[in-house]
Amino acid sequence: MNWEDFEKNGYGVFPADDMAPLDELRRQIFAKTRDIFGLEGEDPGAAFNSFHKLSITGAKLNELRVKLIREVTNSVDSGTLIFNAFQNTILTLLGPDLLVQKNTNMVIQQPNDPNPSELHRDAPANSPYEIVVWLPLVDCFGTKSMYILNRQKTAQALAKLDTAPENWNDFHDYCLETGDNVPAPYGTALFFWTGLFHGSRMNAEKETRFSLNMRYKSLFSPGGLKEPFEFFKIFRTSPLTRLGLEFQKSETIR
């Protein structure tokens, strides 16, 4: 992936610079998943892929998934581990002063689950200056992955919606037809701009998808409509920014 392609499409699949933090993240999430769902096995990838064999669905699945998200958010430092794995990509996109999402969003997409992630774009209401890191914890391909409309296709889709905003079904079908399934094996991450339409199709593969998503944003870039304190925390600052902030503190409080 080169940066021209990224800018043209608004997304790209990037390999990890360092697999160790990624493996550590997957190991920690696997440990939590085993505790909460009773998942068996020693190999995280194989166990996640065959998660559907536990036959947990509906309200029970959602209840346990919410519990898993809470546990992972509270006790796994996903933002740091993802940053450490993809440091070059994140720093190139956003610079040294960073906010990171407070919660870790996790998606479990079992084969033939009739409720995949709905078509949407994050911005607005999120800031168009955020990046979404979609991280597969298993190899994702075909309908097990997610679909996305690149910048050009998103613009065309928006034009179509503008002409007939009352006809969501046509718009939805159009996006499903034109959206590209993005293969993302474990060890990579899909980085995409918040302004792109994306979603999931029904997973017609024979394996369960485990993935998480994390958003990063430059500390000083314009915010979206969401409250920054509710969604983000300061992740890191440059030495110069720290000097500036110390100065500002003394000036503000005088």
Partner: protein, 137 residues
């Protein structure tokens, strides 16, 4: 159960019952309930001259729940002095919309960088809708 004072945002167009509802939820989350209510007078809201005297006069409080941190941003700069003043009364400060809690000066110092950056960027970008920002990019 802790006893909190509820202070709604006088400038917000959201109906007051909605503000109270969100404030009550935050109070509950912090292990307490709302026992007294109030709001800044519209004219004094930018400098928040009402709240400290009121808190001093109200016995038995353990903290105050504001609807939003923005209540400290309506003046020329973020009102950190007032935050310190309230914390120095031995009271907790909670902000319902942002889900932030400040229980001590030390906690305020830990949050201060983020508070200042958000205050700065919001003032800088005030009036710039995302559509205009994208159009200019």
């Amino acid at each position: 159960m802790k006893s909190f004072y509820s202070c709604i945002d006088a400038f917000l167009s959201a109906p007051q019952p909605e503000q109270h509802l969100v404030i009550r939820e935050k109070a509950k989350k912090e292990g307490g309930g709302i026992t007294f209510y109030g709001a800044e007078e519209y004219r004094s809201a930018p400098v928040q001259s009402f709240i400290v005297p009121k808190l001093k006069r109200t016995a038995g409080l353990e903290g105050v729940v504001f609807f939003t941190l923005n209540q400290f941003r309506y003046g020329e700069k973020l009102n950190v002095k007032l935050m310190r003043e309230i914390l120095d009364l031995g009271l907790e400060m909670h902000f319902a919309r942002e889900d932030i809690s400040l229980r001590s000066r030390e906690e305020l110092e830990r949050w201060l960088s983020f508070l200042l950056v958000v205050d700065y960027t919001k003032r800088r970008d005030a009036g710039s809708e995302w559509r205009e920002i994208v159009a200019q990019a």
